[in-house]
Symmetry: C2
Subunit: 101 residues, 2 copies
DNA sequence: ATTTCTTATCGCAAATATGCGATTGGTTTT
DNA sequence: AAAACCAATCGCATATTTGCGATAAGAAAT
């Protein structure tokens, strides 16, 4: 139950870092991102072959990653090509670096 | 519902990174850690004054951070002094660095 | 011994997250 | 136009997270 936390004004960076961390807080999503780092890009279908998870589940995780901006989908009919969003990736990278100083 | 995910054997580093990320995935916990970085150490009571959250809630968050090893509690009767666990902190730092290469 | 102080834990309620099958929506091919 | 393909979304079940007040547990001070 989020009562008080919602009203707290954390520093902007704190919120942003937590948001990225939350998105990274699941092994499947880490694995997906690692896969994207190697392949530079890939399609949802590829991932369904790599992980023993339902297509809808993979799609869910991709949605989470897209929500925080770590990846982006490019329409490449009839497929969708997912890539790392370098700009936000670098923002996340910097936030983590600063955090661990 | 975790059905298949539990059976997947991700690489060890993937699991570890996700575990740390999950623990960092809440602004209050980020803020607590930032506080510990500045103070080097502090007591639960101090945090209750810093954040407008119930004592039990702070204690919960500290428990999470302790669970993944990012902090440790030292009995300093009648208080408990919390510090960053440098060893695990460095492990986490390295994992994130490698991840973002 | 009793009171006080500090922190952890319990029990509850509500919100989120996770996973799946089934369905839908949009293309492309036939 | 119909069939096939790909990916997102819906609806559901279950698990986990978040937060609080109340209580318990431990030590210190009176």
């Amino acid at each position: 139950m989020k009562r008080n936390t919602e009203q707290i004004n954390y520093r902007e960076n704190t919120e942003a870092l937590a948001k990225f961390a939350k998105a990274l807080g699941h092994p499947t999503r880490i694995a997906i991102l690692k896969h994207l780092e190697n392949q530079s890009c890939c399609f949802t279908g590829d991932l369904v072959d790599v992980f023993p998870l339902a297509q809808s589940t993979i799609s869910q995780h991709l949605k989470e990653l897209k929500k925080v901006g770590l990846i982006q989908g490019e329409l490449k009919p009839p497929k969708i090509k997912y890539c790392i969003n370098q700009q936000n990736w670098n923002i996340a990278k910097t936030l983590f670096q600063q955090f661990f100083d």
